[in-house]
């Protein structure tokens, strides 16, 4: 049977039900092993960690390293499976898996790039396709997900299934999560060394990784929900790792509770989809039905909005993003993990996983505005603005994450699925690099405050500086760093703006294109500010350099670490850092006087991440760029990871890249850099030279001169007053009048009712006691006792201990039995 005939058969039957198989490479069928390993590691560390020489860290590192190796194997297996898997056999689903759908007439004809022309079958299908005269999706070898499942339990006639659904995005995430997690593990062995809950920390790091990996492989929404909540719990535990300090436990609670708001949405969304898709939790089934229009549009819209609430809380989208900067209270490696690979990308991953639902629910194809794209655009812009007013280096990076997540949500909102995932991929590396770099700096100066305690760090920490610069360049989107390619692809995906010749995409999302380009400028500017405040100027920390000060600093983290392990850290610093420290004069007495480079367990992960930040963009080169028309190198990421042609994935179209758009957006981004550069590196530097000390801003800047700018600055410092809205107005408003009304109702209605019931119960109870209990019940009990007593004392006489009397009874009994035997029977 050729592909063509299969195609015809399936089209005639009108049946599109698959895009997956239960066969496939072993590692893809048994991908549950990957989350299972760190889950076991969690238990092992908890039970045995403290007795081991490295306090459990070695188990964590080893398990995550195993995960990474398995993830790489899974990726390689997937590459082969993706290109070469042929659904054969007589099952209708297999046939349907090969259906290449047409896009429909709304979208303009789009040229996509993936083609594997040397496949005989493909040419057949292509001919078939063209013969039918339909535009749209070019025939590519369809992606076939590998599934494996088992029934968890059955109740009410519904199978609750667990299973793995491994397709491109899953193997990609397996790789990213385990790589980042491994680097974070290694980094942590130095960063939190000597911590009092060191073992506990590594246990939760393992569980966090396991939860995220489970989320990645899950095939049903119910399993997804479980992993989702598990991720939330782990983030709670890790953000509040140093819970002795009130702000830390507050931040952990805030993260957890804000996420609860969204989780309600997730639960409702899952329930809606469960009933809409005919009582199933199966992600593939739900997506397929959504794509085929078997679920009503309004149902999908409501479900999408509910799920969107979950994304907003988990992935820090605007109005529910407030927990994310506060989550910086956790240890820095945890922040890196949360921001790069786990937790916040869970929301993005969820949209990508249920893309059929969102695509149809929000009518992404062919429109020019929808809720998801708008939320993403608002987030990327306003999150970027907030990064300008933070003095804490980690908070700047946190808002930067908010902004970048906005890009991803926006990309998904405009139908640029591949671009969003690609940005997730590249962002994971450079953002983890930035966070770990910030952690490295703070490790040296024991603070996160850029204005008070940093400045001029490039002289002390050349490796950290270099890697931080590379990651910054990637974040800003400088050619040819990773961020450039992914950001450009997102902008291309918005489609629309004819000015750049950027055609295609799923609609004309002009507003999103403008927002994305403006966001690029903001990114450039705030990152330049961070670079200046941290690495340039003069070191500002020397003036107040004593441990008494550290413990009074708002940020408790490094102070706590230092205080907890002062002696051990000191000794270890000398040993570990002696070879890498650029400042040679730090002896015993003034060891902390000048900061020095971190040890290899911190710098090596930084270097690895910087390498990825530099090169990761090359995996998805735009078609035609440097490679001519050769298909072997362009858009490999999209080719391998997008489930193109699978029945559970909507037929999205891809925008054609344009040089002019790439150049224009780069110029705008660099313009942001230039403005910030002029302000800091020229104006502030000059002023500093005049005053004679290292300034962090102009004493008479724009905000002091112009009232409305000052007001704007205040709004940003107050974070758009969202925290006031939540705690002051919503929580306070609930507490005040509602509490009063509740109190009145409680006192007058509930208590009254309770009192009446209580009084009548007492009266009734007394009557019952006197008449029924005492006379009837007790009488019966007493009579029974009396009878037993009498019978007992009579029977007692028989038991007189005289054996011969017993023998007499025995023979009497035997005689009676004999009589019965003889005369009766």
């Amino acid at each position: 049977m050729t592909l063509g005939s299969l195609l015809l058969l399936a089209t005639e039957a009108g049946e599109v039900t698959a895009g997956f198989t239960f066969a496939g490479p072993w590692i893809l069928r048994n991908a549950w092993i990957v989350p299972f390993i760190p889950a076991m590691s969690f238990l092992a560390i908890l039970f045995f960690g403290k007795r081991l020489p490295y306090k459990g860290a070695e188990i964590g590192v080893a398990s995550v390293l195993t995960c990474l190796l398995l993830a790489i194997i899974a990726n390689v297996a997937w590459f082969d499976h993706r290109d070469n898997f042929e659904a054969h056999g007589d099952r209708a689903e297999d046939a349907a898996a090969l259906v290449v759908r047409d896009v429909g007439s709304a979208a303009p004809a789009v040229v996509t790039v993936d083609g594997v022309p040397d496949e005989v079958d493909l040419t057949t299908s292509e001919e078939e396709h063209e013969a039918e005269g339909e535009g749209g999706h070019e025939a590519v070898h369809p992606s076939t997900a590998v599934r494996n499942e088992a029934t968890w339990f059955q109740t009410g006639g519904v199978d609750f299934k667990v299973g793995t659904l491994i397709d491109g995005q899953a193997v990609m995430m397996l790789f990213v999560v385990s790589l980042i997690s491994l680097l974070v593990h290694v980094y942590s062995t130095d960063y939190v060394a000597g911590d009092r809950r060191y073992t506990h920390y590594f246990a939760f790091l393992s569980l966090f990784t396991a939860a995220m990996l489970l989320l990645v492989v899950s095939a049903t929404t119910i399993m997804f929900l479980t992993a989702w909540e598990l991720v939330g719990v782990c983030s709670f535990a890790l953000i509040g790792h140093w819970w002795e300090e009130k702000p830390n436990s507050d931040a952990a609670l805030k993260a957890f509770l804000t996420n609860r708001v969204g989780d309600v949405g997730l639960l409702i969304g899952i329930i809606i989809l469960f009933f809409a898709a005919g009582q199933t939790f199966d992600i593939v089934e739900i997506n397929t039905q959504a794509v085929n229009g078997q679920i009503g549009h309004n149902t999908l819209l409501i479900a999408s909005l509910c799920l969107m609430a979950a994304v907003m809380s988990k992935s820090g989208q605007f109005v529910l993003h407030t927990w994310l900067p506060d989550a910086m209270a956790g240890p820095t490696p945890v922040s890196a993990l949360i921001h790069a690979a786990t937790m916040v990308v869970a929301g993005i991953y969820m949209i990508a996983r249920l893309y059929g639902v969102f695509f149809e629910g929000f009518s992404i194809g062919g429109s020019s505005i929808n809720a998801m794209a708008v939320i993403g655009t608002i987030t990327l812009f306003f999150g970027g603005l907030l990064a300008f007013v933070q003095d804490d280096i980690k908070k700047v990076l946190a808002y930067s994450t908010v902004s970048q997540l906005g890009y991803m949500v926006m990309a998904l909102g405009v139908g640029a699925w591949g671009a969003a995932l690609f940005h997730l991929f590249t962002h994971a590396f450079f953002k983890a690099g930035l966070f770990l770099g910030a952690g490295s700096v703070s490790h040296a100066v024991h603070s996160f405050d850029m204005k008070k305690d940093m400045g001029g760090m490039r002289k002390f920490m050349p490796k950290t500086f270099a890697t931080f610069m590379i990651c910054t360049a990637a974040l800003v989107g400088v050619f040819p760093f990773a961020g450039f390619w992914s950001k450009d692809e997102i902008l291309v995906g918005t489609g629309g703006w004819g000015l750049f010749g950027g055609t295609g995409g799923n609609g004309a999302y002009t507003l999103m294109l403008v927002g994305g380009i403006a966001g690029a400028a903001l990114t450039g500017a705030y990152m330049t500010r961070v670079i200046y405040l941290t690495f340039y100027g003069e070191f500002r920390h020397v003036a107040h350099n004593d441990h008494a000060h550290h413990s009074a600093v708002d940020e408790p983290e490094p102070a706590l670490v230092a205080a907890m392990s002062d002696t051990t850290t000191g000794a270890h610093d000398v040993v570990e850092h002696a070879d890498t420290a650029p400042v040679s004069d730090h002896g015993d007495g003034d060891e902390h006087k000048l900061p020095h480079e971190s040890g290899p367990r911190i710098t090596v992960p930084l270097i690895i991440l910087a390498t990825f930040a530099l090169l990761a963009g090359l995996v998805n080169l735009p078609p035609g760029f440097l490679t001519g028309d050769e298909a072997g190198w362009q858009e490999r990421f999209l080719h391998f990871y997008e489930p193109a042609g699978a029945a559970y994935f909507p037929a999205i179209s891809h925008g054609a890249p344009s040089y002019s758009l790439a150049i224009f957006s780069s110029i705008i981004g660099l313009l942001g850099v230039a403005v910030a550069y002029y302000y800091y590196f020229v104006l502030v530097e000059r002023k500093s030279a005049e005053v004679g000390e290292s300034l962090t801003e102009l004493p008479d800047g724009l905000t002091t001169k112009f009232g409305f700018l000052r007001a704007g600055h205040k709004v940003l410092v107050e974070k758009y007053y969202l925290d006031h809205l939540y705690t002051g107005i919503i929580a306070g408003g609930t507490k005040g009048p509602v509490a009063k009304a509740t109190n009145w109702f409680n006192q007058h209605v509930l208590d009254e009712a309770v009192d009446v019931v209580g009084r009548s119960s007492v009266t009734l109870g007394e009557g019952v006691y006197k008449h029924f209990d005492q006379k009837v019940v007790d009488g019966a009990v007493n009579t029974t006792g009396l009878i037993s007593n009498e019978v007992g004392s009579e029977l007692r006489k028989l038991q007189n201990g005289k054996i011969q009397q017993y023998a007499a009874y025995l023979f009497a009994g035997a005689t009676v039995l004999a009589g019965v035997l003889v005369f009766v029977i």
Binding site: Q799, K802, Q804, A807
Partner: protein, 99 residues
Amino acid sequence: MWLNQFLLLAAALFCLGVYGVIVRRNGVMVLMSIEMILNAVNINLVAFGAFNHTPVGSVFALFVIAVAAAEVGIGLAIVLLIYRNKKSIDFSDVDLLKG
């Protein structure tokens, strides 16, 4: 006809034995009465065996004699111990089983 006579003899011996077990106070006499009951049964067994022309009855009787020997050995040991403790073998004095 002659089977009847054996059975009647056995019944008489059995009743005598039971009477002895119930009324005699002397422990040794009680044991002897028990022997009499057993031997009544033995007579029955041998009589039935002979009447049916089979050796099974006699074999059974031999087994009963062997068991009876063991029984009377233990019984006499118990009586001896009772005597050592109570300086008496009167069974009416032995009432430790009294409830």
